[in-house]
Point group: C2
Chain length 347, copies 2
Amino acid sequence: MTDAAPSPAASSLALPTPYLLFVGDVAEPGYAKTAFGLRDWAGDKCVGECAVTEDAVRIGLTRMTPAEAAAAGARALVIAVANRGGFIPESWRASLVGALAAGLDIISGMHVRLADVPGLAEAAVRHGRRLIDVRVPPADIPIASGRKRAGLRLLTVGTDCALGKKYTALALADAFSARGIDCDFRATGQTGIMIAGGGMPMDAVVSDFEAGAAEILSPDAAPDHWDVIEGQGSLLHPAYAAVSLGLLHGSQPDVVVVCHEPGRREVLGAPGYEVPSVEEVVSLTLALGRRTNPSIRCGGVAFNTSHLPAAEAEALMEQESRRLGLPVADPMRRGPLFDRLVDACLA
Amino acid sequence: MTDAAPSPAASSLALPTPYLLFVGDVAEPGYAKTAFGLRDWAGDKCVGECAVTEDAVRIGLTRMTPAEAAAAGARALVIAVANRGGFIPESWRASLVGALAAGLDIISGMHVRLADVPGLAEAAVRHGRRLIDVRVPPADIPIASGRKRAGLRLLTVGTDCALGKKYTALALADAFSARGIDCDFRATGQTGIMIAGGGMPMDAVVSDFEAGAAEILSPDAAPDHWDVIEGQGSLLHPAYAAVSLGLLHGSQPDVVVVCHEPGRREVLGAPGYEVPSVEEVVSLTLALGRRTNPSIRCGGVAFNTSHLPAAEAEALMEQESRRLGLPVADPMRRGPLFDRLVDACLA
C-alpha cells in the first residue's frame, strides 16, 4: 500500500540520527511525552532541542536552531510533541522548512503525513532531504515464511494496551546490556521507533504481512544475541489482537514477559470487557507462540505500579510472584525484584 | 491508507451488479476460475460473457459486447480471469475502455490497480464510471468496539489456507436459504466479494483495523437472521494468523465450522509446518472466539474430499464424525451427511 503514499519512499526500519528535538509552541509537558521519552531512553541520539516560542516546554537539552544542530552533527529534526488534534500548525512551518534547508531530514509520528503539510514536500525535494512518517511501514514487506531464525528473542506482551510494554522492553534491554549481553531493542510503535532509531510500525502494516513485518524487524543474529521486542496490543483485546498475534508469530520469541497494571478492571476502549488475568495471558501466549517457537517460555511478569506507594507495590509484587510462581517486578522500580526478573529471562 | 490510492474512491462493500464476465484472450480454463465461480455461485448476477478473441474460454453464458450487456441491464464488467503474471495486457484495453464508454463500471480482483492501466483512469473520468479494485478496502474502517451485535453469525475457519472455507460458507448459506432462513453470505476475499456483490478484502486491511473491518462486514441484523461469513487463513498459519484472529474477534460468530483437507500434511507456503489437527483448531478457535462471543460453539467440520472417490470419502467422514463427536461433511457432496452438518449449525 505504501507505494501509493505521496511522501518520498522512506523506511522506518533505519532512521537518520542523531536528532534535534522539535517542540514547536507546545507549553504543556503532557504533550511532549515523545521528547521526554527520547531524552530519557535515547539521550545519546539527541543533540539539542528547538522551539518556535520562548515559553515552549523545556526538555533539558541545549536550545538551538536547525542550522546549529546540523553543525553539531544532527541529521534529522524529530517532531517530538503531539498537540491536541494531531496537526502541524502554520506557525511551525518556517522552522520545518528551515530544517530541510539546513540539511536535516524531518521525522514525524503524527497522524497527518508530512508531505500533506503545505510547502514541505516541495522544500524536501528542493533541498534533497527526506520526510519520514514513522507510522508508514516500509514498502515490500514479505509474507512470513515461518523459518526459525538464529539468535535469541524476548517479546513483551500485555493483559491490555498502554500499560508498559515499551518501557518494560527498554528496561530489559538496558539491563541486558549492563550485564554485557549483546542485545537490540526492537521497536514496534512510533515512539519506540524514534527511541531505537528504527523499527516497524506494526499496527499500520496490512494484516496479510503482519507476521512478515515482525520477521524482518528481528532478522537472523548471532546465537547469543538478544532482540528485545516491544509488544503491541493484547491477544485478548477485541480490537487489536490481530496485531498482537502477527507480532507473536513473526517474533518467534524464546521468552515472553507479560505486562500488567494491577487494579485496571476494564480493557481500554472496549466497554464491558474485563482485563484478563496474568495467568490467562501467560497460557494463551505460550499456546499460540509455540507454533513458531516450540521452546517459548514465560520469563516473568512486569507490573505497572506507578499509581501505588513503593512499599505497597513491593508487597503486592512479592505476593503475586509467590502466587504465580514467576518473578514479578516493576521495570521502573529497579532493585532485587527487577534483577530476579532479568535473571529469569536469561536463565 | 486507501485515501492515498490513485483510483477513484470505491467501496468493495457494495458492488454494482449485474455483471458482464470478461475473459479477455484467456484460453486456459484454469485461469478462469473467477468466471466459473461467478457462473456457479452468482448466476443471477451475470448477464453474459465477453472476450477479445474467438478461441477464448467459454463460460456457458451468452457472448456479448459491453454495449449489448449494458442494454441487457449489466452495470459492471468484471475481469473474471487471472493470467500468469497478474497484469492487464494491451489487447484488453480497447474492450475495457469500450465498457466504460458503454456505461459499465469495471471491477477487478487483480494485483495491479485498474487506475494504473494506461488510459483507464482518464476514460473512467470521461465517462463518469468507476474503477473498483476489490482488493482495496474501503476508507474509514473503524477500530473495533467489541460491542455484541444483534443477529446470528457463522464463520468458516480452517486448519490451513485454500481448502474450502469460501465454498463451505457458500454451500451453507445456500442450504440455510433453501430452508427458508433469512441469511447473507459475507465475503472476505476477492472472488467471494464478486460472488456476493460486496464484502471486505480482509487480508488487505491494516492490522489495527482488522477486527473493525469484520464488525462492519456483518452489521446488526434481525435476531433470527444469519450472516454466513467466509473465513480466511488459519489461526495456526505462521503467516496469516493475524487475519484469522481479527476476523474471528470482529465476526463474533455463534457457530464456527472447521474446514480441513484430509491427507494434507504441510501448511501451504510454510515448509516444515504440519497441518494442525481438527481438534486443535476447534479448541483454539472456541478459546479465542469466546472473548467476543461467550456462547460460540462448533457446528461441525467440512472436509474437502475432492481428491477421493465418493465411497472412500463417505467412509472417512463417517469415521471421523464418530471420532470427533461432530458432524463431518463435504459441502460439495450434498446428501445426508451435509444435511446433518446444516442441522447441527442451526441447532
